[in-house]
Symmetry: C2
Subunit: 378 residues, 2 copies
């Protein structure tokens, strides 16, 4: 029966990272528990919501853990409740002892709390992903790809495949991440330094956002393993599994065009703030759009709500070329697109009032392009 002592604050940290996979309202009751597996030289914490699973290992060799394992075993404990209890204890260290089947006594300072757990046999087995031939990426790069694309995925379940981000590797080096909700699209291209095995997967964007929270910036690289139905992101102590979406992702390449009629470069922040103001009013209008007027001497933004009021604003431009154009669109899409851009300026290219327009970083950094579909007004 389990017995160990551990530094309480390090334990809380590992529990909280694992908890990100656990939903307290899961339809399968056992998934609201955390699995604690005590091995001779480490403790592994497991949490899962059926979609994503996290395994977090605390090795005896981690000096900050102050981990002393006297006896091994495994148990399930109600995750939220257990973490609240551990967080409330008074001392820097914690003794964890299983006293009889599925009961643990937690001792810290003069506090002694006894909790009822569950038989570990009830816990579902995580599907296995074969761990050879990984794709290795810098955590920072992977997180930046996620922040550039995941927001553009759909949040509606009407076309489930669009709730994911489409990741592909072709010719062993050509990496592409793309997401679209059919109103806008965001795509990131990358050429890998080292050749890897080709893949073509659609990962739920929600899983990718959780990945971003779990893999902190101190973790330098991530190994990625693929199986037909799952993907595993792994660092030294954390394994993050997510299910893949099934189905064919639509062909997004045909949406991108190479010819443009009008082009302008804006300061990213000031354009974003102008759109945020426009959005306050457009929100109150029937079609929710802002109208951009590109003319000889100025680019202006307009919203007119008969009920609430109107916005008229001259936009600061860094560059402007091509023909005059008037185009209407939902400012929310432009605001979110600008948030995803790290460059100081943004280049926007227009074809016509009824065709999607593209955004690229103003510093001409390659590989990142976004697309927004206008709204026909008249």
């Amino acid at each position: 029966m389990i017995q160990f002592s551990i530094n309480r604050s390090l334990f809380i940290q590992a529990l909280n990272a694992t908890k990100r996979a656990i939903s307290s309202k899961n339809a399968i009751p056992v998934l609201s528990t955390i699995k604690i597996q005590v091995n001779p030289s480490d403790i592994t914490l497991t949490g899962s919501n059926g979609q994503i699973s996290i395994e977090n290992t605390i090795p005896v060799s981690n000096e900050n853990a102050g981990l002393l394992i006297s006896s091994t075993g495994a148990i399930l404990l109600e995750a939220n409740f257990f973490i609240n209890i551990i967080s409330s204890l008074p001392d820097v260290s914690l003794d964890f002892k299983e006293i009889e089947q599925h009961q643990v006594v937690l001792t810290s300072g003069k506090s002694e709390i006894t909790l009822k757990g569950k038989d570990v046999e009830q816990y579902p087995r995580l599907q296995e992903v074969s761990t050879d031939n990984p794709l290795v990426l810098e955590t920072k790069l992977l997180k930046s790809i996620i922040s550039e694309t995941a927001f553009a995925a759909s949040t509606q379940e009407s076309r489930p495949i669009l709730t994911g981000v489409h990741l592909t590797l072709k010719d062993h080096k050509d990496f592409k991440a793309v997401a679209t909700d059919s109103h806008r699209m965001s795509q990131r291209l990358l050429t890998l330094d080292k050749a890897a095995t080709d893949f073509d997967v659609v990962i739920p964007s929600r899983s990718l956002r959780e990945f971003t929270s779990v893999f902190t910036d101190e973790i330098e690289t991530v190994e990625i393993f693929f199986s037909p139905s799952q993907i595993l992101f792994r660092s030294e102590h954390i394994s993050f599994y997510t299910r893949l979406l099934e189905g064919n992702y639509p062909d997004t390449d045909r949406l991108l065009m190479n010819q443009f009629e009008t082009e302008a470069v804006f300061n990213t922040q000031s354009l974003r703030h102008a759109m945020e103001r426009a959005h306050l009013i457009s929100n109150a209008t029937q079609n929710g759009t802002v109208k951009l007027e590109i003319a000889e001497n100025a680019i202006t933004a307009h919203v007119n709500s008969p009920e609430v009021g109107k916005v008229n604003e001259e936009l600061e431009t860094v560059e402007k070329a091509g023909s005059d154009l008037t185009i209407s669109f939902n400012p929310t899409y432009l605001i979110e697109a600008l948030k995803a851009l790290k460059s100081e300026t943004v280049r926007i290219r227009f074809v016509s009032p009824v065709r999607p327009f593209t955004l690229t970083p103003g510093d001409d950094q390659e590989g990142f392009v976004q697309l927004i579909t206008p709204v026909r007004t008249n």
Copy 2:
């Protein structure tokens, strides 16, 4: 028609303080607006939810306001919406101009936003409170009295009078604030330095909490004016009105006792943390209580939930006197009582397992006493 220019961030600050009185979901639509009254030498902002009203004055003489008034008048604007718009504008200063009846143009930098307002005639008149003979209190002292009592008021509307804090002045100097929800009570006594007119009022505890947010610590003193149905708290630039509760407040003095059987002094923080742990488990029990056992050699706390687990904990005591006693109570009341105490230690006095127990600051600072009713078990 109104025309003025003002420093935008100072204006936002004043708008936000006024907004505290405004509920966007008010049943009376006009109360979701903010009233802007522009006088020759100041601007007064008014917000009200029918229960509390706030008037905030920005004088031309305030150098930080950069206030330049060209033309006077008054208008109503949708509060939340207006504040969001003002907050989103780009420049440090803002021009506010009424262009035609009930329409204003806001200009800041290259942004121009036009908003529809409403006729100021629709706004209800605030009831008048005669402003002579004020009671003057230090803001800090008044806020501390509120934080010591308001939390103990009832949140249930079954006995509306108990949702308020009972404030009285007797013999021109004896000030008392008391609140109770019939399970616990908190009372603060104070002897005024300067004689004032006696009063006996019940102020909604919610209003007092709003008062605490509106009157920042930079405001040194508050003048308090009484009318039969309202009370006015006033500083140089802010007037805060609240309705009073009608009815007779119960006699709470008879609850306080002078004889005790058992007495103990605890460290406030460590007792609070022990109760927070107990509460995590007691929450899962049927009666939600913790049992305190005061014995010859130790004071211990116990909770036992057949479903979840149990807590056993020895409490650190500074002093202990009197007979042994076992008493059960809801730990939430003790946690909240301890939060309201600023002293490092707390003295708790018990009469019997079925009689309320009292808490006083351990440093024997006078005038603050709290009372908690035990729960009869078995």
